[in-house]
């Protein structure tokens, strides 16, 4: 029998002071990120803000800076430009531009030599992509730029997506709380919801710190990991419930819970290993489209595993300590 984890008796619950501090920090980070999103300071994807994304390739190799120069002519030198590669995709770039301005008023400036520069700084999302394409074609006259994909989104689409994303998150968390409440009891339901919230906030916070773009796919990943992290929590809770049936003395409460965590520890680790293995393959081989999605999931799996051991169960212990229930 091959075993990663031998029979253990680690005092997880005893570490709760340390884990509460760490988790508090992670959650605070996540809340900060959440506030930043609301006031519009976070790095949101064009799905939410409106804007344009252009993927295309040049005949000959071009640097990111050269592309930036071409876009600067039309006043978009601050666009996010990323070089990508793949089979049949040499000299390819993703150019992302966020825009939430509604009207099309061009701005005109003059250079010292009197050359006029017209910049369409204020264009509705739908026309931004065309503008970028034109600017690049005008700049690289002897190096053909072929578009592989464009995506123009009006900020009004973003408003709707944001509403839908918030609805999905709220309803999913409520649904989960109710399910755990029915299957276990209220305390377990609350503890599981806290742990889930914690995981989502932590990943959001890390994304914010890394200044990675929060796109619709990342939000999808956050919801998915909410579901996944609960799987872990439920497995631990299930064992706690089973072991509490033999629960006799109140002083044993914490140690019963600790034993339960230890008993399912090898399952927790093995499942995390297999899941993270597949997520890492998406991360490495899935390409640009899925990278941020997979990264959020990978972070979520690590944090979700941690929280089912170090957050959800200690919450129950603390609750029991403060408001003991009568022994059956």
């Amino acid at each position: 029998m091959m075993r990663i984890i031998k029979e253990t008796n680690i005092n997880f619950i005893g570490q709760r002071r340390f884990s509460f501090i760490l988790s508090g920090l992670l959650a605070a980070l996540g809340l900060t990120a959440f506030i930043m999103i609301i006031i519009g300071e976070a790095n949101l994807g064009i799905d939410f803000t409106g804007g344009a994304e252009v993927i295309g390739s040049f005949d000959r190799s071009v640097t990111v800076d050269e592309v930036r120069d071409a876009l600067a002519v039309v006043g978009h030198g601050r666009a996010k430009i990323q070089s990508i590669s793949g089979e049949g995709f040499e000299n390819s770039f993703i150019i992302r531009l966020q825009g939430r301005i509604e009207s099309a008023i061009p701005e005109t400036t003059y250079t010292e030599e009197g050359k006029m520069i017209v910049s369409m700084v204020a264009v509705e999302g739908d026309k931004l992509g065309d503008l970028l394409k034109q600017a690049i074609n005008d700049h690289f006259t002897d190096n053909k730029f072929t578009l592989d994909s464009t995506n123009n989104i009006s900020s009004r689409v973003g408003e709707r997506l944001t509403r839908d994303a918030i609805k999905a998150i709220v309803f999913a968390l409520l649904g989960i709380l109710i399910y755990i409440w029915i299957r276990f009891d209220f305390r377990f339901g609350v503890a599981a919801t806290i742990a889930t919230f914690h995981d989502v906030l932590a990943v959001l916070g890390i994304y914010f710190i890394l200044n990675r773009e929060i796109s619709l796919l990342v939000v999808t990943a956050l919801l998915t990991l909410a579901g996944y992290s609960l799987t872990d929590t439920v497995v631990v809770f299930d064992r706690i419930r089973e072991n509490l049936k033999q629960f006799r003395k109140r002083s044993d409460y914490a140690s019963t819970i600790n034993t339960s965590i230890n008993e399912v520890l090898s399952r927790t680790v093995v499942t995390s290993v297999t899941t993270i293995m597949v997520v890492l393959t998406i991360l490495v081989f899935g390409g640009e489209v899925l990278f941020d999605f997979a990264l959020a999931l990978a972070l979520g799996i690590v944090i979700g595993t941690y929280s089912s051991v170090f957050v959800a169960s200690p919450v129950i212990v603390e609750w029991e300590k403060r408001a003991p229930r009568r022994l059956k």
């Binding site: 464009t150 989104i153 009006s154 999808t220 293995m277 393959t281 899935g286 390409g287 999605f293």
Partner: protein, 554 residues
């Protein structure tokens, strides 16, 4: 083996065979040269494609457009209007010959159009996003246009000079400020005639006193041409409220549909029209693209009797004048009326129009104008190469992920791990087969592939739970048979509980998500749901094939 066992094995074998049958068209379709088949035998192509696994736009390439429908009179759009717009767009798309379009309502005032395999985004935008309101306008006379130009110049000169510069401009500004636009024009007329051929003013002074004329490239009677570099500048000037005031209310300024080439430069044309509409597209009964005698693309149209009467009167009265053909406030062209036209007319295509532009216009005119204003909120195009790249990456990632997990399970749980691996393979087979069941017809997207890969991780979790439980039971000294049974028994509820939470989140992702996200929700939930069957049931059947175990490799 007991009889019950044989029945179960038979059931599993049937499920596997059915899955292979369901997936056969998919393999056949995607393993051959689809482009060649499409040309050689379109009927086979589409019947096979219908049975094959449907790929999302992100994987097979195509155009995705979100259209906002709004009532020009303001207020909310009725469901009836939304339906009518959808129907018109469907007619246009069908007539243009785009196969398998997906046109659906979204919310109460949006329409989403997916055109899989179609990647000409500009055509798609015109085809779907045009109101296609056809109007015929006469042009204002060259004198009137000249007056308007002077009025614009003088107002703009004052505006651009700013309040502090009035004295400097007094010379150039020959026009006294007048209260109404009409007055401005009359007072201008005759007082100062700009003669551009004589370079009396040096260029800089001219630009200062005639800022609008200065950015125009050519004056051609009742239309003006502007180079592309000055196009945005001109638009900006014309949008100024002061300039808007100078334009008389019975005038209408409209840009040409597409730029015109002249040498190595490109020009935009600004037409000065009579605001009065002589005829609209409602009188049209048919439209067809063709070439005229000069091999230029044109659209021939036929009018109904009422329209023919009105058209005949207008063209009869204005021979030798220009008639502008205006589509959605853009002038397609403004040919000179040669003779009276009644029933059959011809639209000359302006700019560098090709026959496909004429074809597109004919379709728009035939389908008729939309009963509401539309605006494109989102337009996405994914090229087939990018889609193919995504497929390749998805395939690679799933194969590697699957192999890694399978190898891990086989090493960690030995023989039992291999049983889990069999269940895992069957799970993926069943998920894919489920997606092509007629009536289900789910769409596989790139996030959907991620969902499928994630299912692999989640599915083995069920077997990990069971195996770990069996190991625990073995440690308590149970016989192998009893340990297996107890392992499955005890793990059952845990597995169900833990998967329900994933299903809850997937459900809400499906309800509130769109396009690719839905694809993810579908593969994830189908995968998790079917894994209950494969991980619990199929592995148990395999374990139960032997009644007594002397030793268990786990």
């Amino acid at each position: 083996m007991r009889r019950g066992q044989i029945t179960w094995l038979f059931a599993i074998a049937t499920a596997v065979i059915v899955s292979f049958v369901l997936l056969y068209p998919t393999v056949e379709f995607y393993s051959q040269d689809r482009e060649a088949l499409k040309i050689d035998n379109p009927k086979d192509f589409y019947s096979l494609k219908k049975k094959a696994l449907r790929l999302g736009l992100d994987l097979q390439g195509g155009v995705h457009i979100v259209l906002q429908v709004s009532d020009p009179r303001g207020g909310s759009v009725s469901a009836d209007i939304q339906d009518q717009v959808l129907e018109k767009i469907r007619i246009r798309v069908d007539k243009y010959g785009i196969a398998e379009p997906e046109i659906v309502k979204s919310g109460t005032d949006q329409i989403v159009v997916d055109l899989p395999g179609f990647t000409d985004i500009d055509t798609a935008k015109t085809l779907i996003g045009s109101t296609a309101q056809l109007q015929f306008h006469l042009l204002r006379s060259p004198e009137e246009c000249q007056n308007l130009l002077q009025a614009i110049d003088s107002v703009l000169a004052i505006k651009l000079a700013g309040p502090g510069d009035e004295s400097e401009l007094a010379e150039a500004e020959a026009v006294p400020k007048s209260d109404t636009a009409e007055e401005a024009i009359t007072s201008l007329f005759g007082e100062e005639v700009i003669d551009t051929s004589q370079e009396v003013l040096d260029e800089e002074d001219f630009a200062k006193s005639h800022p609008f004329s200065a950015i125009l490239d050519r004056w051609l009677g009742n239309w003006w041409q502007i180079t592309m570099e000055n196009f945005y500048q001109a638009q900006q000037y014309l949008e100024m409220p002061e300039i808007q005031e100078v334009i008389p209310s019975n005038y209408k300024l409209a840009w040409g549909t597409r730029p015109v080439k002249g040498g190595d430069r490109r020009f935009q044309t600004l037409y000065i029209l009579n605001r009065n509409i002589e005829l609209t597209g409602e009188s049209l009964v048919s439209a067809k693209e063709t070439y005229d005698q000069l091999r230029q693309p044109v659209v021939n149209f036929e009018l109904d009797s009422d329209g023919a009467r009105r058209f005949s009167r207008v063209t009869g009265q204005h021979i030798e004048e220009n008639l502008a053909i205006v589509i959605d406030d853009r002038v397609e062209s403004a040919p000179v009326i040669q003779s009276r036209i009644s029933k059959n007319g011809q639209i000359t295509m302006g700019g560098d129009a090709t026959i496909s532009d004429a074809y597109l216009l004919a379709i728009l005119l035939k389908a008729g104008a939309l009963p509401a204003d539309v605006e494109i909120l989102q337009s996405t195009v994914v090229g087939p190469a990018l889609g193919q790249d995504s497929i390749n990456r998805g395939k690679q990632a799933s194969m590697i992920g699957l192999i890694l997990v399978m190898v891990f399970m086989a090493i960690y749980y030995k023989f039992s791990g291999i049983i889990a691996d069999i269940a895992l393979s069957l799970n993926i087979l069943f998920v894919l087969a489920f997606m092509v069941i007629p009536g289900v017809n789910a769409t596989l997207t790139m996030p959907g592939i991620a969902g499928l890969i994630l299912t692999v991780g989640i599915m083995v979790d069920s077997n990990v739970l069971i195996f770990e439980r069996i190991r625990e039971e073995l440690r308590t000294g149970k016989t192998i048979r009893a340990a297996i049974d107890a392992g499955y028994d005890r793990a059952l509820l845990t597995i169900i509980d833990s998967h329900v939470t994933t299903l809850i989140t997937a459900l809400f992702l499906f309800i509130f998500g769109s396009g690719p996200i839905r694809g993810f929700a579908v593969t994830l939930s189908v995968g998790v749901f079917l894994s209950l069957f494969t991980a619990l049931f199929i592995t148990k059947v395999i374990f139960d094939m032997r009644k007594k175990y002397k030793s268990l490799s786990i």
